[in-house]
């Protein structure tokens, strides 16, 4: 798939910390669109082994804020062509995405999102319960009688993809253009001189560079501490689980914010299920029985016939949460240190567009127009980009 480079060179034009989807996509677009090929991607573990491997692969653009809708919609446009571009099958599969409404408040948010989406040309509409039943015949519209489904926000472009292939596709594409991908290479320090990046110290030697892109999701606070930057990030575990494989019966992606559950059926037939964040800060990928039980209860509300189906695997990722549920992207007070973080529970779908916009930002030193609403300095200006209504639980 890609080379395993030998020793680190003494210096690079750009060093990217984090060999997940976001870091590899940025390397790919830096090389392809900006002719910057002297790049090292440093990954402390193995390629795509962090949140790229741990998310539930849902891709959608039915967000709430204009900044979010435009950004994620640009990502969807890139997603659709990636398999062909990489000559590598990402199993990108358009399924349609339902956000179920169980209350008047849910319906109000659904209408709000639908109107914002339509305004920006994104296909979203509010549908009634009969429409839901037609697309998902096995659903219990009454949800056991205690939280009946009144309707839903339906987003036809909602899709899933094979997450490992996304990291490998970008890695191969970047590698072919000369980017070096160094796995098992941990960043131990970042040299800053006169307020600007001068180099990176790693477990495999020191590198001089003037530009560093940090794309490490749940490890972001640890990297920021190396250069003394503060941020509003708080890391929480986000758990998920899959069932044993079943014959295909669930085509769309189903999300219920009220029941704190979402589910899709993968190409392998497994039900991929998730719920809310763990309630308090923790830097660990441990799983809990509490989570599996809570999620199973709500899955049975929606699909009682699953009561005999077994759970195959359960895992967690570390989500770097922001106060407004939008990412933190762009420049920082340290010259040459670029940040692609705050991806909390919503990062996978943004992989292509975050790579593309961060590549341009790193290449030009000016934030890409699509990410100006996501700057680190927005908090100091009290100009938050509130995306909780569309990013929490349902992703």
């Amino acid at each position: 798939m890609f080379r395993t480079p030998g020793r680190l060179k003494n210096g690079y034009d750009v060093v990217i910390i984090g060999g997940g989807g976001h870091g590899l996509a940025a390397a790919y677009y830096l090389a392809r669109d900006h002719g910057i090929r002297d790049i090292a991607v440093l990954e402390k573990g193995y390629l795509g082994g962090g949140n790229t491997a741990r998310n539930t692969t849902i891709i959608r653009s039915n967000y709430l804020t204009p900044e979010g809708v435009k950004f994620y919609d640009a990502s969807l446009s890139l997603w659709a062509g990636l398999s062909e571009e990489f000559d590598y099958n990402l199993f990108y599969s358009e399924r349609g995405h339902f956000t179920l409404a169980h209350s008047d408040a849910d319906l109000r948010t659904a209408h709000w999102r639908a109107e914002v989406n339509k305004h920006f040309g994104v296909r979203s509409e509010v549908v009634d319960a009969a429409f839901v039943k037609k697309r998902v015949p096995r659903i219990d519209l009454a949800c056991g009688g205690h939280s009946p489904i009144l309707g839903a926000l339906y987003h036809a472009p909602g899709a899933i993809a094979r997450h490992d292939a996304v990291a490998w596709g970008y890695a191969r594409g970047a590698d072919r253009q000369g980017v070096e991908i160094h796995q098992n290479t941990e960043v131990l320090g970042i040299d800053v001189r006169d307020g600007a990046v001068a180099g990176v110290r790693t477990s495999r030697g020191d590198i001089s560079t003037k530009r560093v892109l940090c794309a490490v999701a749940g490890s972001t606070p640890r990297i920021l501490k190396l250069i003394g930057l503060d941020s509003p990030l708080v890391v929480h575990p986000l758990q998920a689980m899959v069932s044993e494989p079943l014959k295909p019966w669930l085509d769309p992606i189903i999300v219920s914010s009220s029941l704190h559950a979402y589910v899709s059926q993968s190409a392998r037939g497994e039900l991929v299920m998730g719920a809310s964040l763990d309630p308090c800060e923790l830097h660990s990928t441990r799983s809990t029985l509490d989570f599996a039980e809570g999620l199973a209860v709500h899955m049975l509300d929606l699909f009682p016939f699953l009561s005999e189906v077994k759970v195959n695997r359960q895992w967690a990722g570390m989500a770097d949460m922001t106060p407004d549920f939008s990412p933190i992207m762009g420049l920082t007070p340290c010259d040459g240190f670029f940040l692609d973080a705050g991806w909390g529970t919503w990062g996978f779908k943004a992989t292509p567009i975050s790579g593309k916009t961060m590549a341009q930002t790193v290449a030009t030193g000016v934030p890409h127009p699509l990410i100006t609403g996501f700057s680190l300095e927005r908090f100091a200006r009290l100009e938050l980009t509130g995306e909780k209504g569309a990013a929490a639980v349902g992703h």
């Binding site: 800060e281 660990s284 908090f379």
Partner: protein, 68 residues
Amino acid sequence: MRAAPEPDSCSDAEWTAYLFNRASVPGVKREWWCHTPSGYWFIVERDTGRDEILATYDAAELPARAGT
């Protein structure tokens, strides 16, 4: 637990840093927890890297403990 800056005399930057920024590297933290059935608030010292609770005590013990 974090000390608040004096709102009348601190700068805007100090205030927004207090509002939003968090020390979010893994390590031992002192947190407020609540025992829901009794509504009793108490202090927990927790290692956020290892998911381990190291000590629990009443808030009245805080001045003595915080000195250590």
